[in-house]
Amino acid sequence: MPTYKLIYFNARGYGELARLLFAVAGVPYEDIRVERASWPNEYKAICPFGQMPLLEVDGKILAQSSAIARYLAMEFGMAGKDNWEQARIDMVVDSFGDILQDMRVPYLETDPEKKEALVKQFVGESLPKRLGYLENILKENGGGQGFIVGDSLTWADLGVANSVDYLKLMCPNPFENFPLLAGLVQRVREIPQVAAWIAKRPETAT
């Protein structure tokens, strides 16, 4: 078994999908958490693009959160059974990247009036639009009571479940009008290894 280290902030953020993968796979790793106040630190020099998260596998380094999560998913057999399924998973995961892009501006806005308007637009329009497409994709996969791609748990399902934790920063119940997605989130969070990880992970704001 390789030696794994994940290096990120003491936050869920762009590191949490990797942590969920380790948890579900039951694979031990060193969960290195850097406090924001002490960044940049000695790790910055080894970060390929100067940023975390970083994955170290037997001393070899990988950056970029999606590349890291995809690599772990492939190693742990949670990446889909063929190239097409892998691509469909990538498609679902990348769509959350788009949601996060949409979320940045309202999230970072400091002027209260502007923020209120931007949040309203995100929560009322752009988020439901994207979630609607995802709800359809889930529905088209055998009715939507299983997984979002294929017939077993993949990192796309973990990505959906993980998204609730950051979307809650914008509205209390992001999947309220998307019953199939909400059902998937529930199913994922009830997986024993996921439930155990969520119960024991550090509580962080993001």
Binding site: P48, F49, G50, V57, K60, L62, A63, Q64, S66, A67, I68, R70, Y71, M74, E75, N83, W84, Q86, A87, R88, D90, M91, D94, S95, D98, Q101, K129, R130, Y133, N136, I137
Partner: protein, 207 residues
């Protein structure tokens, strides 16, 4: 051989990496370019697109959205993704970095306030871009001195990606002035016979 269609607008944009992969691999595909002024978009296509957006890749009638997912699918099909799972992950890493660069450029091009736009462009040219290219130059150098490829010892979609970034940045050597290894790689890829043939004949577009 599967039937491939790539559907996008008439521009390089988010479809060009897929086009480069098809051409580098010598695999034929239908290069569909929709003209929104003729009602071809939204037209019939929008309702069929998984996220209502382009580009989409259609493989024997099955649809795949998200430009990187589509490009990675093709790269894997055509053995341009990297020889080992580690190499594939490293290639993915480079592709994500190129995407970070193009996202910054899209933010600038979508900025409506002219003054803000100029300010963003200035910051990008003076700071953001050299920082990104510097990291890429170092990483390239770490791979056997930097006179080969980003990953392993043969062309992958990461190499096609930097050739695409070259166009994204204006299609001149100027942005790469301080990054000789990167520039040499971009040119090497653009001179690959199948790529060069495509670059000679492809439509000149504004984006």
């Amino acid at each position: 051989m599967p039937n491939y269609q790539l559907v996008y607008f008439n521009g390089r944009g988010r479809a060009e990496l897929c086009r480069l992969i098809f051409h580098a691999a010598g695999v034929p595909f239908e290069d569909i370019r929709l003209d929104h002024t003729k009602g071809e978009w939204p037209g019939e296509w929008k309702a069929k697109c998984p996220f209502g957006q382009l580009p989409v890749l259609v493989v024997d009638g099955k649809m795949l959205a998200q430009s990187k997912a589509a490009a990675r699918y093709l790269a894997r099909e055509f053995n341009l993704a990297g020889k080992t799972s580690w190499d594939q992950a490293r290639a993915d890493m480079f592709i994500d970095e190129f995407d970070d660069i193009s996202t910054e450029l899209y933010k600038i091009s979508h900025e409506k306030d002219e003054a803000k736009k100029a300010e963003l462009r200035e910051k990008f040219n003076a700071d953001t871009l050299p920082r990104h290219l510097g990291y890429l130059e170092n990483l390239l150098k770490e791979n056997n001195g930097g006179n080969g490829y980003f990953v392993g010892d043969s062309l992958t979609w990461a190499g096609l990606g930097i050739a695409n970034v070259y166009d994204l940045l204006g299609g001149t050597d100027a942005p790469f002035a301080k990054f000789p290894l990167l520039l040499a790689l971009a040119k090497r890829v653009r001179e690959n016979p199948k790529v060069a043939e495509y670059l000679k004949t492809r439509a000149q577009t504004s984006f």
